[in-house]
Symmetry: C2
Subunit: 106 residues, 2 copies
């Protein structure tokens, strides 16, 4: 039953990580800081999932990245592109619609 529960919970969470990452990346953020912000916000995403996700979202044109070399250690900052913002809005709307539907079924 535990394994079953874990699988169904994972299915429910899938997709929310993208939405959460896009929402946080309305402000430019580097990978490790994003991991921390996600964890603080209650989205348990591990680094092995997040970094490939960031590359995928950048390839899809939803994020843009830029190296910041002003500090002692250069870091790659990501932020949402205009397409990423549009996608985020659509995901948030869909989430709200799903939430309303689920509340009705409770």
């Amino acid at each position: 039953m535990d394994e079953l529960l874990a699988g169904h919970l994972q299915e429910l969470r899938r997709g929310t990580a993208v939405m959460a990452a896009l929402a946080i990346l309305r402000e430019p953020t580097y990978g490790y800081a994003l991991l921390e912000r996600l964890a603080e916000a209650g989205f348990a995403v591990d680094a092995n999932t997040l970094y490939p996700l960031l590359r995928r979202l950048e390839k899809q044109g939803l994020l843009v990245s830029e190296w910041n070399t002003e500090e002692s250690r250069p870091r790659k900052f990501y932020r949402v592109s205009p397409d990423g913002e549009a996608l985020l809005e659509a995901l948030l709307q869909e989430w709200q619609a799903l939430h309303t539907s689920i509340e009705r079924l409770r």
Copy 2:
């Protein structure tokens, strides 16, 4: 962009169909009626997705089924098992936690 959006929306919806079906099946319901109830509730699930899902959930012990032969056309009624109810509660709790997290990020 449309295709990209469709993919991300689908990821977001995945998992909600299980939760919605389990919630509806707290009352015994046959397949076609469940499809209708899901659509009314705002969960667009098609028959080709729903019937395999019902079989999977029954195999996982989350649903039980029974033929009702009292009416002119025999129909298989599904309802949640005690394990299914426990899973439903866990999914609803997780959904609520995700919703709270997402609201904070909006």
